[in-house]
Amino acid sequence: MEQRSTPSRKVLRRFFRHRGGVLGALLMFSLIVIAVFAPQVAPFDPLAVSPFDALLPPSTEHWMGTDTLGRDMLSRVIFGSRISLRLGLVSVSIALTIGVIVGSLAGYIGGRVDDVLMRIIDVLLAFPSLILALLAVFALGPGLTNAMIAVGISAIPSYARVTRGEVLSAKENLYVQAAEAVGAPALVIMFRHILPNIIAPNIVIAALGTGTAILAGSALSFLGLGAQAPTPEWGLMLAQGRGFMQLAWWLSFFPGFAIMLTVMSLNLLGDGLRDVLDPRLN
């Protein structure tokens, strides 16, 4: 018997034909597994100091060497994946939630509400995003949580603008006008008829945005404004290895490589999702 091809099945089938997207998804899945099972995967305690093992080069015992306090770099990089992925997810969730609410209100209500909200977004867009994140983290104070909030704030405008555009175009659909004509409440129209239209573009921006958020968050930690010692955060680990570049290249190399690999897999995944879900964004 022939199976019925639903839209979601079609999307999945197209995604599985996208080599880059599948590679990104596989890499991301592996990173998530490593992050979730970090205590089981990591060979050592990432915070255990061992002065006699300080600055050991990569070897069969310590695959990525040890740092200035003798801590195993591989274990710290593995535990760092938890922090970076959390940083990406939390900041994107903040940006997505606020951006979708602001964009939906502006697009659906229109008029003065739209004017006011979009002027606020224009102001946020007038800041280069990392500068806005720096301003936010300066106001909130250094720390990992504040860095997540700061990076989230700096990404709000993208989601708000895309959502507003999608809501404006969805409003013109006949089924939305029909729902309005039969007196359906605004919230029902919003959630049942308009929201499904704004999910696809936002998923694509969120996938690509998670990578950007991880880069921005690790940059804040590198500058000493994000995660604080002894947290095994990749940006912070890189900053700590800076002074030992000639003596111990592995201190700066492996955390940086981990950031690149994570962001690259999110970019591959995001590109794949974009091609499958919303080719207009290409």
Binding site: V123, P128, L130, F138, A139, M245, S252, M260
Partner: protein, 307 residues
């Protein structure tokens, strides 16, 4: 064109008001104030703190303080650093050339490498050249610039001894920071050039140009790229913002005495006035560059008319 330009500039005024408000509010909500920072380690009494706070007008209502801040900004009075006591305007004037030099060099690198990479990819779509170019672009957008900077230092400075690892000075001090800052720009511009060029490759005017017997490279450069340039230019404008943000990190990596280095230090030391001034300056520059990009569309594409 002129009426469009005037209208576009007028719309910037509320945006810049908003920027100044946000910058001021950001400083205002910080627990403690400038006086706490200034006298934190001097062991001043509560009376001393109150007197200085009164002198500086920090007891005034929020809107009064904001009005004063705005007035100072408009007059170009950026105040003094609360940490070093040095004139902020003078500090910015001293360090601005290093940042302008760096961002311009990085932008030039991004454009000069990114556009040809995108063109080659589009022409050879699906070939190994396209695959390699897009791989470079993917690495470029995924690589943290502070890591790339450190790799450059390890390879070209500590390893080969070709360039100095840190400092500000001549061309040799500029090469590695500019490459570091420009690398992600190469990637972004290459991706946009490729996709914009692919969009116009099969249009009627391209077919007409080919049927006139023009050689492929002149069809692509003269007709294709000129039409794809509007998207590339938009990205260049947006990239300028990324470069300004990136300069904070790159100048820190290379110890380059620019505005980014100044801003990073000011944030770490809680220097309100310096943070306010550098953030305002970065936003103003970003807004102005995007304004210029807006105006330049009609120069590139005569079909774009401003009414």
């Amino acid at each position: 064109m002129w009426s469009y330009a005037v209208r576009r500039v007028v719309t910037l005024i509320p945006v810049l008001f908003g920027v100044s408000f946000l910058v001021f509010a950001g400083m205002y909500i910080i627990p403690g104030d400038a006086v706490d920072m200034m006298l934190a380690e001097t062991g001043a009494t509560a009376e001393d703190l109150a007197r200085l706070r009164n002198q500086l007008g920090l007891d005034d209502p929020f809107m009064v303080q904001y009005g004063r801040f705005l007035g100072q900004m408009v007059r170009g009075d950026l105040g003094e650093s609360i940490v070093t006591g040095r004139d902020v305007k003078q500090q910015i004037r001293n360090q601005l050339p290093a940042t302008i030099e760096l961002t311009m060099a990085a932008l030039a690198i991004a454009f000069l490498f990114g556009v040809p990479l995108g063109i080659v990819s589009a022409i050879k779509r699906g070939s190994w050249i396209d695959a390699v170019s897009m791989m470079i672009a993917l690495i470029g957008v995924s690589m943290p610039n502070f890591w790339l900077g450190l790799l450059f230092i390890m390879g070209f400075s500590l390893g080969l001894g070709w360039f100095p690892a840190a400092g500000t000075g001549g061309l040799d001090h500029l090469v590695m920071p500019a490459m570091t800052l420009g690398f992600s720009g190469i990637a972004v511009i290459a991706r946009v050039s490729r996709s914009s060029l692919l969009e116009v490759m099969n249009t009627d005017f391209m077919r007409t140009a080919r049927s006139k017997g023009l050689r492929e490279h002149s069809v692509v450069i003269k007709h294709g790229m000129r039409n794809a340039m509007a998207s590339v230019l938009t990205i260049v404008g947006l990239q300028f913002g990324a470069l300004l943000g990136g300069s904070v990190v790159v100048e820190t990596v290379f110890g380059r005495q620019g505005i980014g280095f100044l801003a990073a230090n000011a944030i770490q030391r809680g220097d309100f006035t310096l943070v306010q001034a550098t953030v305002m300056l970065a936003s103003l520059a970003f807004v102005l560059v995007n304004l210029l990009v807006d105006f330049s569309y009609s120069l590139l594409d005569p079909r774009i008319r401003y009414t």
